[in-house]
Amino acid sequence: MLRVRDLAKRLGDFSMRNVSFDVADGGYFVLLGASGVGKTVLLETIAGLMTPDHGTIHWDDTDLLRAPVQKRRMGLVYQDQALFPHKTVHENIAYGLHGRKRSRGAARERVATLADDVGVTDLLDRFPETLSGGEAQRVALARALATEPRCLLLDEPLSSLDIQARSAMRALLRRIHRNGHTTLHVTHDYEEAVSLATRVGVMENGTIVQIGAPNEVFHHPKSEFVARFIGIRNFFNGRLENRDCPTENRDCPKRATDRERDGTVPVCSDRERDGTVPVFKDGATPVFPLGRFVTDGLAFLIVTDARPGPGCVSLRSEDITVSRTRTDTSARNCFLGTVVDIVPARLGVEVAVDIGVEVAALVTAGSVERLGLRCGQKVWVSFKATAARFFEG
């Protein structure tokens, strides 16, 4: 197990601090962070190419900081691959085999096996400059694997590849991981994390702000930064009011009913207003504390246990439903709005609807066609109070 504790490093204007995490044996840990946040510095520090100002790095009981670079056995793969330009693919892969008490024949065999594993057998006599990005990345992986590393350290391994090469490389990384290789992978692309990670960490301003299973981090981001970083499009700044409104009968005042009809405020049942909706468990703790979040031009219901005050709400575009007519669903927030934009996105079509503020809903191309969506059209937008996440501050 790779154990990093309280790692700190200052380099000019950049500083990394309080970085602590574990990568379990055979685990795939993805560290997410924007460019320039210090991910490469972290990998180079673990590999021994940089000395930290503070902190410890252990592999099981071995103190890696006391081990020289060549004894650490951390297989670092750089984003730009760093293949040796004056050596052939074969020589590149074989570089790390030198001095490992292998006969020439055994070394050649090992290179052939590795090349076969990553699919570069046909390229062994080529020089790196003639390789495509995907091919170079495979060679770099094979070169790192040749040293039989304890842990693979991958620095943005997919970022320089085109989409096709990217998916092939992802499959290769998954296969390598299945073979039992412990991996620490740093990236700024959260989709890489979703598709590969067994655990995810998010880095902000040189420190790790959240660690957890991928689902946990993506569905329960701890901060606005994390939420933005993992690709959530809808953000509203505003104020949380009347947190326990159903019990205190404050969330949807009667005078708002006209606006409810307009669709500019969420529709609430009389029972909610009366406070007769059961929200207490054993008559003591609120189970689903509903809050009313007011933003510029809109108010809606959210589930939160935060205190009333200023803050920000995030809403994943895939959690928003668009319909031509008002439908009766469990969604507590339902608004009438106008379609302002329809943009093809990677995983569907993003429909921007103005409901007082602009919200983006991710729908399939088929839905756009079926509903006959076009700009200027009136549609109903609904989302559950549980889909919205509130961040204080």
Binding site: L49, L76, E129, A144, A146
Partner: protein, 269 residues
């Protein structure tokens, strides 16, 4: 000419002026050399080339300059690597010291070397004890040549090492290579083109050195000293053929080494 830029079929005036200026400079370099070669008859060349003194002096120039270059390269190339990769207090001063031989008059450099290796000096006495005679001998010539030409090698090699991405060295270290293996298998081969260029420049500069060499060792004569002696004793006409021969030999070696370098180099692409 390449520097003439055409815009909509017209010749750009600035390009024309620059080309004309370039032509003047080229003419300034080529004309005296061509004039000298043309004024020397083939008979004169053959006659001079057959003289034992001339052949010996050219050979002396060639081998001493080559030996000085190779000998000092052993220390200069690692030193250049250090200058390229490490930061240390006083690095700017060290870089300035490296350039010092370029700016001081070569006769003054010769005087300084002479004092350094004379029989009264520590080095001179020590060398004499092991049978090496600096003054009036090939070792003295080599020292004088190396002194004035070292900056060319060190600067070229340092720039060459600087151009090798440090990341490649880090990748090699990460693959388990020792610092020495990284130097010999990654840094040196990748900087080789620049280093070779520096070696050629150092060798050429040493080969053509007169000022420092003549102070340290008038005898045995190098070609440059012999040309000067012929000129002083017999005049321009007698100095010309040996000059042409020396230039010819230099050009021959220059072209040969460059061609060789082009074939064998695996510089980063």
């Amino acid at each position: 000419m390449k520097t003439v830029h055409r815009i909509k079929g017209n010749i750009e005036p600035l390009g024309l002026i620059f080309s004309a200026l370039g032509g003047v400079v080229l003419l300034f370099i080529v004309a005296p050399l061509a004039g000298m070669a043309l004024r020397t008859s083939p008979e004169e060349l053959i006659q001079t080339g057959a003289q034992r003194e001339v052949l010996e002096s050219i050979w002396m120039s060639l081998w001493t300059s080559m030996a000085a270059t190779l000998l000092f390269a052993l220390a200069s190339i690692p030193f250049a690597y250090l200058l390229a990769r490490k930061t240390f207090p006083g690095k700017r001063l060290v870089n300035a010291i490296v350039d010092l031989p370029i700016v001081i008059p070569h006769s003054a450099a010769g005087i300084a070397i002479l004092g350094f290796i004379s029989r009264d000096s520590l080095l001179g006495r020590a060398a004499q004890r092991v049978g090496i005679e600096f003054i009036g001998g090939a070792p003295g010539i080599m020292l004088a040549m190396a002194f004035v030409s070292l900056p060319f090698l060190i600067n070229a090699a340092r720039d060459g090492f600087c151009a090798v991405p440090e990341r490649l060295e880090k990748a090699a270290r990460n693959l388990g290579a020792s610092p020495a293996r990284v130097f010999f298998t990654i840094s040196l081969p990748l900087a080789w083109r620049a280093i070779l260029s520096g070696l050629i420049m150092m060798w050429a500069r040493g080969l053509s050195e007169f000022g420092a060499v003549v102070v340290v060792a008038y005898h045995p004569m190098t070609a440059a000293v012999l040309i000067y002696e012929r000129f002083g004793a017999f005049g321009l006409k007698y100095a010309r053929p040996i000059s042409v021969i020396l230039i010819g030999v230099c050009l021959l070696f220059f072209v040969a080494v460059r061609l060789l370098a082009r074939e064998r180099s695996h510089a980063p692409r």
